[in-house]
Symmetry: C2
Subunit: 225 residues, 2 copies
Amino acid sequence: MKIVVPIMPTSLEEAQALELSRFEGADIIEWRADFLDKHSILTVAPAIFEKFAGFEIVFTIRTTREGGKIELTDGEYVTLIKDVAAIYSPDYIDFEYFTRKEVFDQMLGFSNLVLSYHNFEETPENLMELLSEMTNLTPRVVKVAVMPKNEQDVLDLMNFTRGFKAFNPEQEFVTMSMGKLGRLSRLAGDLVGSSWTFASLDNTSAPGQVALADMCRIREVLDAD
Amino acid sequence: MKIVVPIMPTSLEEAQALELSRFEGADIIEWRADFLDKHSILTVAPAIFEKFAGFEIVFTIRTTREGGKIELTDGEYVTLIKDVAAIYSPDYIDFEYFTRKEVFDQMLGFSNLVLSYHNFEETPENLMELLSEMTNLTPRVVKVAVMPKNEQDVLDLMNFTRGFKAFNPEQEFVTMSMGKLGRLSRLAGDLVGSSWTFASLDNTSAPGQVALADMCRIREVLDAD
């Protein structure tokens, strides 16, 4: 189970001030570019991709419709992704599949997509259908982050992940049940077949995240023979 | 989720040498009396119950049939339990229900029984029936520790626990899937409705246990708002 640490600089200065030493233990960096205004993303990009050249990087523009900070038209969203991809070739590119379905056909050339679905309200009853639809597109990663209303929602998310991974062993899945209630799912990657877990440095980028240092230790404990 | 720390002294001297300060963070002490020979149990008992007077104590004689150290006839087993109970009134008394079913009727006067079932080989297909049978007896605690052969075994144990707790909210359940593969279940108490988790000081008393200090920290992480 790899540990992804999101970074959310709100300016070029903040990006430049990020200290590499603080990311010890992280496997992947997710650049949440939506914490910038749309005109600054290409300006700040060099600082990010140079500083974190030693890491795999997920380029993510989390738009307001899926709990993010930025409002973009479909056209702006696709253009920004293509521009950054063309210049920096991020290891992974997050694409909000159900929110941006109309322009998904413009993404077909990308082999490194993280098709993502975020629901901060609930764990929808049709979660298996959503997982199926995304899995059938065989993206690099299928990512699902949902909010549980009760303990069974958390177990359901874990059971679904286990089931989909069993039937699609080559497909990478990243799933989490959010908030305090769902937190155990963030430790369950190796058990259920979720490849990544998101951990925070200071501020969390989603409810229920565990601090990087704790997550590293917990992973050691779970991995011990 | 309470943390139980087993103690396994093999002599009176070892019992007396146990340092209370090392048990910081433990909620309950389980005295695994089976690490003594049957004639020493009553001799060592005073040292245990005096030293750990500040803790809830589970008195457990884990016999070889359920992975323990001591061989006892049913008669010896019941007599030892009754003798210790009469003198020391432990908060909980472990009783290996399926192994000692023939003498269970002699336990009916006990309101503090931990009816336990241990399977170090597998997660049996009839686990739900075993859980039902023990739950229907409404003991103080229903305890199940089973060995998983695959990830689904671990999730099944967690799902069954969640289900039984939902239908029997007043009943205390303590369940775990053992070994490295099952380790996450030892962190899942609050999610699935398992009241205790067993953590070790030095040697583990069962496969997959987490060290006390780590378990305390993990519980803090899971409990954080």
